[in-house]
């Protein structure tokens, strides 16, 4: 049984995008326990969590490939295909970056300096809240699509993106603060460890940057045609 009209309809790529998003969030959720275990010197647990993260990141990759495979150029979508693919790319950077951080934490048995702890965990929370905001925006896209891009819904999402940019900016500021504290510990912490921590801070900042880029792509997707 072949029905011509069935060829016209395609499943919305937003569904697999949402699956990917949930997996990415799950990957991200392992970051905090990982740092907590590191702070307590619980390295076995750190290794264990890293393994879980690797596995999740791989699953995210597979979902991402599936989304790309199902987006031929002949599709008619209410936004540019390239903007959507950009969103997929940026969203996939979330689990990627989490994985990179997990790798860094397993390279060496790092100690978390006492002076760093409080500020660092605050920084981590800001990174998480930036990513969560990006995720919230992707979820809100459902309403934009349901309303066929009504002005009201578009403005709602634009506000959320403004808030996302704010959060990213605050995260960056916090990153500077953490880096300063770290560099002031030059006499207590070995150069190698300082180097490692700087890399961790940089990767965490990058995580927030990619979340912000997700917002930028969505801004383009909902812009007037």
């Amino acid at each position: 049984m072949r029905i011509p009209i069935l060829r016209l309809f395609r499943k919305s790529p937003f569904k697999p995008l949402r699956v990917h998003m949930e997996k990415s969030l799950e990957t991200l959720s392992h970051l905090k326990p990982m740092f907590e275990n590191l702070a307590q010197g619980n390295f076995e647990k750190v290794e264990e969590i890293a393994e879980t993260i690797y596995k999740l990141e791989h699953e995210c990759d597979k979902i991402k490939d599936g989304i790309r495979d199902n987006l031929p150029k002949t599709l008619l979508m209410p936004f540019a295909r390239s903007d959507f693919l950009g969103l997929v790319h940026e969203q996939d950077e979330i689990p990627d970056k989490v994985e990179d951080i997990a790798v860094l934490l397993t390279l060496k048995k790092l100690k978390m300096p006492e002076e760093l702890k409080a500020e660092f965990f605050e920084f981590l929370e800001r990174v998480e809240s930036t990513v969560e905001q990006a995720v919230k925006i992707v979820q809100e896209m459902d309403r934009v699509l349901e309303s066929s891009f009504s002005k009201k819904e578009i403005e709602g999402v634009q506000k959320l993106i403004d808030e996302l940019e704010q959060r990213e900016w605050k995260t960056d500021k916090k990153a500077c603060k953490v880096a300063k504290i770290l560099l002031n510990l030059e006499n207590e912490v070995s150069p190698v460890e300082i180097y490692m921590w700087m890399n961790i801070i940089r990767e965490l900042s990058a995580l927030a940057d990619h979340a912000e880029s997700m917002g930028k792509n969505i801004r383009l997707m909902i812009a007037k045609v």
Binding site: M1, I5, F9, P72, T74, M77, S148, F149
Partner: protein, 394 residues
């Protein structure tokens, strides 16, 4: 002679059967896809509306296929050749549709039957037996119909977006504008039936008046249906649920228009044969007998009821990216187009028109993903269908 007539009628009935089983699913796709109605309801609506559409408005296109493409005059002395030719046309069209469907081409039964009848005309008497102007008009209508369907669907959906989806309170707006939209459907259906339809000779002005009162009746009914609905879903969800009620109407409209146009694919050749048998040059002008439309309509209805449910069920499961607001606009655009061409006596493809209408919604940013690859297939099927059916027939 009588035996031959029975044979052609049997062929016509079979064709109607196949059409009802297959094409009804394309007509009902956006209704079952949006879950406005389930597949059982779709089968009932399609079967009943097909029959009514065929009976009330089916005559124009039937006239064209039976007597408008190939001249009848030369066959008055050789009726057997004509009957045989028309019978073979039915078979040729049927086979081509089977083959093309097997290869996944969105071939239209309409195009196949027109091609087959053409082929018979050319075979019997070269180019001189063909009404070329009529044929060109038909071909032009194939190209225009998907576009017109798309434009109408786009406009209706744009209207829905502007007055309802963009508004502060979309639910209230739906309850206010919904009855107006539905009265529009009532108006067009009624107008198509009484103006230059049936055997009543109602002048245009009176037709409009009668249709307007019918539309008012539709307005009141829809208003009372929408008024009572209260639900607790999200705003757009509620709008969709209200439109699901309205879409029952457009599904019927679609079935009606489908019956009015496609019944001719099955009984057109038989109508030609009937005229020949009755004899006389006046036969060309005579109306298509209502019992013949009835046979076609019943064939469509039975085909849908017996085989269509399976196809419609599949479509309902596979097509998920359409909602009642979008489905309403698509069906409104497609059905209006099909009905207009039916009144003009031009046989067009319901399926292609529906495809055009859905793409129109896509351009209004109403659907998240559509595969435009289907357009290439449609173009290919345009190029191949007529020559093939014609050639096969010859």
């Amino acid at each position: 002679m009588f035996i031959w007539l029975i044979l052609v009628l049997a062929g016509a009935f079979y064709m109607a059967f196949v059409l009802g089983g297959n094409d009804a699913a394309n007509a009902m796709a956006t209704s079952v896809g949006s879950k406005a109605i389930n597949y059982r309801q779709a089968v009932i609506i399609a079967a009943v509306a097909n029959l009514i559409g065929a009976l009330l408005v089916g005559g124009h296109v039937t006239h064209t296929i039976g007597k408008g493409i190939v001249t009848l005059e030369p066959f008055l002395k050789n009726a057997k050749l004509f009957i045989l030719g028309m019978f073979a046309s039915l078979i040729a069209a049927g086979i081509w549709v089977q083959i093309a469907t097997h290869f996944g081409m969105p071939v239209s039964t309409t195009h196949s039957i027109v091609g087959a009848v053409m082929g018979f005309g050319i075979f019997a008497g070269g180019g001189k037996y063909i009404y070329w102007m009529k044929f060109l008009k038909i071909v032009a209508s194939w190209i225009i119909s998907p576009f017109l369907g798309g434009v109408l669907a786009f406009l209706i959906f744009y209207f829905i977006k502007k007055v309802i989806l963009d508004a502060e309170n979309p639910i209230l707006r739906t309850k206010g504008w919904g009855p107006f939209l539905s009265s529009l459907v009532f108006f067009i259906i009624m107008l198509s039936v009484i103006y230059k339809g049936l055997k009543l000779k109602v002048p245009l002005f009176q037709s409009i008046l009668i249709s307007l009162s019918f539309a008012f009746f539709g307005y009141i009914i829809t208003w009372s249906f929408l008024r009572a609905r209260k639900r607790r879903d999200g705003v757009y969800m509620q709008v969709e649920k209200l439109f699901a009620i309205l879409q029952i109407l457009t599904a019927t409209y679609m079935g009606f228009a489908h019956g009015a146009n496609d019944v001719a694919n099955a009984i057109g050749p038989a109508a030609g044969v009937w005229s020949i048998i009755k004899g006389g040059l006046s036969a060309k002008e005579s109306a298509v007998p209502i019992w013949l439309l009835g046979i076609g309509g019943i064939g469509l209805a039975i085909g849908t009821a017996l085989f269509g449910y399976k196809v419609i069920k599949t479509v309902g499961e596979e097509v998920t990216e359409i909602t009642p607001t979008r489905g309403f606009a698509a069906e409104f655009g497609a059905a209006t187009t099909v009905l207009i061409f039916s009144k003009l006596g031009l046989p067009i493809s319901t399926t292609h028109t529906v495809v055009g209408a859905v793409i129109g919604i896509g351009f209004a940013r109403g659907i998240s993903t559509l595969n435009l690859g289907i357009i290439k297939n449609i173009l290919l099927s345009w190029l191949f269908t007529v020559p093939f059916s014609a050639g096969y027939r010859a």
